[in-house]
Amino acid sequence: MNQAIIAASRFGYGAGPDGTAAIGGDPRGWLKSQLARPQIPASFAALQPSSALVVTYQQLQQQRREAKADGGEAPQRPVRMARINQTPRGADARGGPDEMAMDAPVMADPQKDKGPAPSPEQKLLRQAFLAETGAKLDAVTLSQTPFAERLVSFWANHFTVSGIRPVVRPLAGSFEREAIRPHINGRFEDMVLAVVQHPAMGLYLDNWVSVGPESRVGSRGKRGLNENLGRELLELHTLGVDGGYSEQDVRALARILTGWSIGGPRVGDPGHFVFVPQIHEPGPKVLLGQTYPEAGMAEGLLAIRAIAHHPSTARHVARQLAVHFIADQPPQAAVDRLAQVFLQSGGDLHAVSLALVDQPEAWSSYQQKIKSPFDLVASAIRATGRGLRPEQAVQTFDRLGQGLHMAPSPAGWPDDAAAWIGPEAVLRRVEWAQAYADQVGDDVDPVQLTNAVLGDTIAPDQHQAIARAESRPTALAMLFASPAFQRR
């Protein structure tokens, strides 16, 4: 099969209308060179950093509270949601964890929701989310370094933050930009650190309100430890569920990370990571057999380094990569080789990504992976050059079952065929293919496009079916719905 098509589709988001012309005669070299100079998407210029979003959000909440305190009715029905950091001032802090329900319907679509008009917070979050959606789609569909973009998406899914917590949804994009993207060619431990310190992760896995029971604030008895981040860090992000840790280790890591919070009006740098000693659990902790004497924030830095370099982490990460780039059930030999590179390089992700390109199985197993809905839509847009409006993109991904930044759990989106291809899902994909093809219209030559983006990777009978379709939009729909296009 055409190696350039494999490079484009398996490692990136598929070929464009010009086919593989940009790839040239050395597909492996093309992929590797992308890592040296990953492109910064132009679409990011207009986006807000997470700190700005968090601060604006804090201010809006503050105004609402003041309006209420003045005796006047709040202009709209107040929505219960996180009060981002009111915590650390001690007992008088008003926003205890019990008040911090974050399940409010912040992202409810005002057009669909016949309830009260959206609050300023809701509007802010929705606008930010739409902007992020458009920018993400542009980033992957316009990129000249699509392998780097796929790595960004892979790691962002590995360290999922999900808008299931409404306040997280507009932050997921900045999380990707600020915590993931700078480190895809760096060291894994730096990525873990950036992830743990990002407000989106702090909010999503509750660590910003996790209070050491024996800390100055905790000893007053109102608040306590939240193990959420400690557990997922070990189970999902580093060692893996079979990585050899215990419940004691989960709690130890959670205690170590107490005090890792988010700055607010009264503490630290608003909207940025802050360490709050008043809620940090004092005393020594034992994690994975290693004792961490009381050292405030330094405990967490040491613990993250330790788990990031753990041999179980190398195996876990290597397997995740192999599942994404080779097959749902990847050959163990390839997993072992990748784990070896990870371990020997000290978690150098650049070295690991280069090794990935060099795995023969990553090429010989082409089309064993099923595109996720995001991959499918993104590759169709790359193929035709016809984008979607952000609102349209949001609707499309929702219908196809992969709402952007809405992964069902901290484990992220599933990465296997069984999760994506069922009777209902296939019909939804066909419906999407038809609707998108209709939108693209009839001034695209479907046969030329099929040749450009699939080359010889589509079976002759599938190719012929496209060529013989009764109209151009039907032919295009068949291209997007063809097994060859839906696989990578």
Partner: protein
């Protein structure tokens, strides 16, 4: 496309009207149109995939009909006779009253004057008004609008009904567009094609088969029956695909065209005519599609209201199909098909143009062309829309002076 942004914004306006499109559209006059240069309306319906004209308007009186068509010859109970030669497929019963009222004109043995059996190429040429590809891809109807709009390119007297603007309406003149709201169930024709395409794929094949079964779409895919247990078409929802999807589009178009300050020219697409396998001329896929077409045309008349009297509807397709059935009880790509003209402004109740007969066939397989579709279109544009013949011969249909406009199609 320079009018792209405007189209989207218009779609958004119209999209808020919701699913009861036809009635809601009556509230449309807020979208400002300048007073139109003409009160006459023209609707072009493109049947994509190549209509089997011999199935739609069977020449049952032709001496060779039964023998040539073989298994596809319609039994007499499936024919509504029009004269001694031609009848209507009974699936088109909804438009039979228009024949009696003199509002239906049939032009048999029509083709585009080009020589290709590729759907894509033929549809392009049909819409560009050319016999071979050249120049920028713009549509003849858009070029005709230059005259209709009196030189004002921003007036939007043209309307595309559907998710995209067909080539026929694309070009330098800004047009409006309307699309049915919401995503829709997949087209049964597409599902049937994909069922074949997925046959060799162990993952997609079974999943699609199960999905179709679960949605009880088997009948539609097989062409057996598109009617629900309540006797209503299963696809009658606005924004669907399949035979029943045409009617809501026609309803919307009628509502928009009826408005005093609405568009004057509209194009509607209808697909599903590429009947290579088990075409179901009496009962099945083709019959269902014809019924969908007929019902939609009747709806168009209703929705246009009084404006129907000033309307011409031109129904055309890119080429015809083989006279004889192929090995799978369907038909393959052919040459001439049939064109229909309907409307209160049509001088109907008759057959126009020559009938080449079924004795001598094109390449020994196809119905020969007797009337060039450009002649029909030119006749309508000249006599109904008031477009200057010189403009028709050069700009609208370039280098077509030899193709004379067909006269007497409309009541003057």
């Amino acid at each position: 496309m320079n009018s792209h942004d405007l189209l989207i914004s218009r779609r958004q306006i119209l999209g808020t009207l919701g699913a009861g499109a036809g009635l809601a559209l009556l509230g449309l006059p807020r979208i400002a149109y300048a007073a139109a240069a003409t009160e006459n309306r023209l609707v072009v319906i493109i049947l994509r995939g190549a209509l089997d004209g011999l199935a739609a308007v069977p020449p049952y009186g032709d001496a060779r009909y039964a023998q040539r068509r073989n298994g596809l010859a319609l039994p007499s109970e499936a024919i509504l006779p029009l004269d001694h030669t031609f009848g209507l497929n009974a699936a088109l019963a909804s438009i039979q009253p228009m024949w009696g009222a003199g509002e239906l004109l049939i032009v048999p043995a029509t083709a585009g004057g080009y020589h290709t059996r590729s759907h894509f190429d033929a549809q392009d040429l049909l819409e560009m008004g050319l016999t071979e590809r050249r120049g920028a891809p713009t549509g003849w109807l858009n070029r005709a609008l230059v005259d209709v709009q009196g030189g004002d390119k921003q007036r939007r007297l043209g309307l595309a009904v559907g998710p995209s603007v067909p080539l026929m309406l694309r070009g330098g003149v800004a047009v409006a567009s309307w699309e049915p709201p919401n995503l829709k169930a997949a087209d049964p024709t597409l599902l049937a094609s994909l069922t074949q395409m997925y046959a060799g794929d162990k993952l997609f094949g079974p999943a699609l088969a199960d999905g179709i079964r679960a949605q009880s779409l088997d009948d539609e895919v097989l062409g057996a029956n598109s009617m629900g247990p309540d006797g209503k078409p299963r696809f009658a929802k606005a924004g669907g695909y399949g035979p029943g999807a045409f009617r809501p589009m026609a309803e919307a178009a009628g509502g928009l065209l009826a408005a005093a300050d609405g568009p004057r020219v509209a194009v509607i697409d209808m697909g599903g005519w590429d009947t290579h396998v088990g075409q179901g001329t009496v009962k099945g896929r083709l019959a269902d599609n014809l019924k969908g077409l007929g019902d939609g045309l009747a709806q168009l008349k209703t929705s246009l209201g009084p404006a129907w009297s000033r309307t011409v509807v031109l129904v055309m397709t890119e080429f015809g199909r083989t006279v004889a059935p192929n090995g799978t009880n369907g038909t393959d790509h052919g040459t001439a098909s049939v064109a229909l003209l309907l409307g209160g402004a049509v001088k109907g109740g008759r057959i126009a143009g020559d009938w080449p007969g079924l004795d001598q066939l094109e390449e020994n397989r196809d119905l020969r062309m007797a009337t060039d579709l450009r002649a029909v279109a030119k006749g309508v544009l000249r006599d109904h829309m008031g477009i200057a013949p010189a403009h028709l011969d050069t700009a609208v249909f370039p280098d077509s002076a030899a193709v004379r406009p067909m006269g007497g199609l409309v009541r003057v």
